[in-house]
């Protein structure tokens, strides 16, 4: 039996959906001019930028949404399965700051930091996907979004969770992906990336978000709705009320997306949070935020849709017990909820800061959560009686063949980051941060850049040099020359 964690029963989910369908019709959903004709052609009334979407239409457009799809790695292997209760994790995205590896003080992230993070994530099997994790402050802002993707594609072969910063730049990101995949058709057939698209709470599909939905649907590249109700500020204060808003934003987004291209892949996702009534901040490590994530995903699962959430993040400003506790709790809950893609690892300080040391720590929490959902299985006909028949009351279980045959299935062995008193392990007196720092260096030393076809690598470089030249960037930070890069 796979252990599960649920917060909503069927009657409550149906009540949530009942209100969500009601909201998208009245008061309706604010939409951008880009999609007005698309909606009107389907019979939606759009008045003064507000679309009033009938429930019947929205329900009918939920039907063609693929209930599952895959993201592929560079080798063409299906590496991430969006669908069912499969779970995957990726690092948090688009962070401006990093905890400096030496000083552990937050500072603006640079291309070299993103490269280190990507290389570490590449080495950790707990991360099925990469993310465009940081905005590189040594790269001009005009090219900031596609440059992150370039660095990820350059240093990784895993699928990527990414997103554009504007309507226009989406096409630049898609172009990069197409180069790396060997053309638009190849990208459509075996998408390497999923694009986060964020409605603005409450119930607003901005020009940028509306256009991204439509353009991604037409490109056949998966979209991932990241609805972000902030309970009590930009959404109703109750968790249930915020889940309603999340559902309304997802359903209206799917309506736009599926009208543009029925059957295009899209994910029911989000980054909901509570609004701290003392500070006005949005704690990602709060248990109520995790509850929102789980509940929102449950509603998506009710339709059988692929799901996403933003978890595994803490709010403390340094690597400490608070951050570990918050991240660990939400990791376990996300895994038990069977959310297909769980983003956020490595992040702290209300998503304002990334830490590669935290990323390797989070990988341990993820591995534990993955063990947890493996559950407790009867691995032989006899659970215990046969073992006792062999050892009697001596209790000498260590000698049993069964012990040797099964202990690896039963027990997860964490890396040396987790202090279990290994004689050969790192000095436990240095604390988890020191152990994480050592682990990061070990992983970086072991990292080898994945191979890429020479002509595609050249095409990526040409593209990057041309585009970055337009904004006067000299050199390509984080990019090693092909000769020295392919070790």
């Amino acid at each position: 039996m796979r252990p599960r964690f649920e917060l909503l029963d069927k009657p409550l989910i149906e009540r949530i959906l009942g209100e969500a369908f009601q909201l998208i019709e009245d008061p309706g959903v604010r939409v951008a001019p880009y999609v007005v004709e698309l909606l009107r052609s389907a019979g939606v009334t759009v008045t003064e930028g507000v679309a009033h979407i009938p429930e019947a239409l929205a329900r009918s457009l939920l039907e063609p949404v693929p209930r599952e799809f895959y993201l592929y790695d560079r080798r063409g292997k299906a590496a991430v399965h969006y669908g069912g209760d499969d779970i995957h994790f990726d690092p948090g995205s688009s962070c401006l700051n990093i905890l400096d590896p030496e000083t552990q003080q937050a500072r603006p992230a640079l291309a070299a930091d993103l490269v280190r993070l990507v290389q570490v994530a590449e080495m950790l099997p707990q991360f099925a996907a990469q993310s465009t994790a940081m905005v590189c402050n040594d790269v001009p802002p005009e090219i900031g979004d596609w440059y992150r993707l370039l660095l990820v594609l350059w240093h990784s072969e895993k699928p990527v969770v990414t997103g554009a910063f504007s309507a226009a730049s989406l096409h630049t990101l898609l172009e990069l992906l197409a180069i790396e995949s060997g053309g638009c058709e190849a990208l459509r057939n075996k998408p390497r990336a999923v694009f986060d698209v964020c409605p603005s709470p409450p119930l607003n599909w901005s020009e940028f978000a509306s256009q991204n939905l439509v353009d991604l649907a037409r490109a056949g590249v998966p979209a991932e709705i990241v609805s972000m109700p902030l309970a009590g500020a930009t959404a109703p204060v109750t968790l249930a009320g915020s889940v309603v808003q999340h559902a309304a934003e997802c359903i209206s987004g799917i309506t736009i997306h599926q009208l543009a291209q029925p059957g295009a892949p899209i994910v029911w996702g989000g980054a909901p949070a509570i609004f701290d009534m003392r500070t006005g901040r949005t704690p990602m490590g709060a248990i109520e935020t995790a509850m929102l994530d789980v509940a929102c995903a449950e509603v998506g699962k009710y339709f059988g849709l692929p799901t996403h959430a933003y978890m595994v993040a803490g709010d403390g400003r340094m690597i400490d017990a608070q951050v570990g506790m918050e991240s660990g709790m939400s990791t376990v809950l996300g895994a038990l909820a069977g959310i297909n893609m769980i983003s956020g690892a490595g992040m702290l300080d209300f998503l304002a800061c990334h830490s590669i040391e935290k990323l390797v720590m989070d990988a341990e929490a993820i591995a534990s959560a993955q063990r947890l959902i493996g559950g407790i299985e009867p691995r032989s006909e006899s659970l215990a009686v046969a073992a006792f028949a062999q050892t009697g009351l001596q209790g000498d279980f260590l000698k049993l063949k069964e012990t040797r045959a099964l202990f690896r299935k039963e027990q997860h062995f964490p890396s040396a980051i987790i202090d279990r008193g290994l004689a050969s392990g790192p000095d436990s007196s240095q604390g988890i941060l020191g152990r994480a720092q050592e682990r990061v260096e070990e992983l970086l030393a072991e990292y080898r850049r994945p191979e890429i076809l020479a002509d595609r690598e050249r095409a990526l470089l040409n593209f990057a040099e041309t585009e970055s030249g337009r904004v006067g960037l000299e050199g390509l930070p984080g990019i090693t020359s092909p000769a020295s890069a392919s070790r």
Partner: protein
């Protein structure tokens, strides 16, 4: 019984009770209490108590919003009375507020504006997705003391720098203080872009605005 009246006024603000605050203001006017006295002895101490209680974790943002609403209700009665007397409430300063270019989030900014107004600042809210030039133009028009720039996203936070630059370009930088805020904003960032101050939350923004109005040459201030 003015003391009891002032206590009730103070309490109406703490309770976040606009109807009571309004009713007390009307009764004060009817009974001949000076409007400015009612403000200074009754309602302003209420806002100060709210600020203190918020700082001590005894009151929360929704409570403060309600208190600000009660203050507004009282002032709606008292401001016209002040005008009739040919005077007005001493103004703490003029603030131009807005969310930076590319960002449409405004909850934090609304909180700041509400509390600044409640604390005697004259606030002009430019809304969301505001370019630096627009901040500068409005600051010039109103002879603003402070420009407050909010940003929720890490990606739009960068545009706060553009507001500082626009004020420099407009030749206003020496006359206008710039304060920045928003979830990803830090004191260090404020320093980096040449802002005068950074506030972590709405109540701190009030303290910061007050301190910025005082003409002291200090490095970037942080109100916490």
């Amino acid at each position: 019984m003015p003391d009891d009246t002032f206590t009730a006024m103070r309490q109406s603000i703490i309770d976040g009770a606009p109807d009571t605050a309004c009713d007390l203001a009307q009764r004060a006017v009817a009974s001949g209490i000076e409007p400015l006295t009612a403000i200074n002895e009754g309602y302003v101490p209420g806002m100060h108590a709210v600020g203190d209680r918020f700082a001590q974790g005894q009151m929360f943002l929704p409570d403060m919003m309600a208190s600000a609403e009660a203050m507004r209700a009282a002032m709606a009665v008292l401001d016209p009375e002040l005008k009739k007397l040919g005077t007005e409430r001493p103004m703490a300063g003029v603030v131009v507020l807005g969310t930076t270019k590319g960002d449409i989030h405004e909850i934090g900014k609304i909180l700041v504006g509400t509390l600044l107004s409640a604390h005697g600042f004259r606030v002009h809210d430019l809304g969301v997705d505001v370019a630096g030039e627009k901040f500068a133009a409005k600051a010039r028009e109103l002879s603003a003391d402070i420009v407050g720039v909010s940003a929720l996203l890490t990606t739009t936070m960068r545009n706060q720098r553009g507001v500082v630059e626009a004020l420099v370009k407009a030749g206003l930088r020496s006359q206008v203080k710039v304060m920045v805020g928003g979830a990803p904003v830090t004191r260090k960032w404020a320093e980096e872009i040449g802002a005068d101050g950074y506030a972590k939350d709405a109540m701190s923004a009030v303290a910061l605005a007050r301190s910025l109005i005082e003409p002291k040459a200090l490095p970037v201030r942080e109100a916490v």
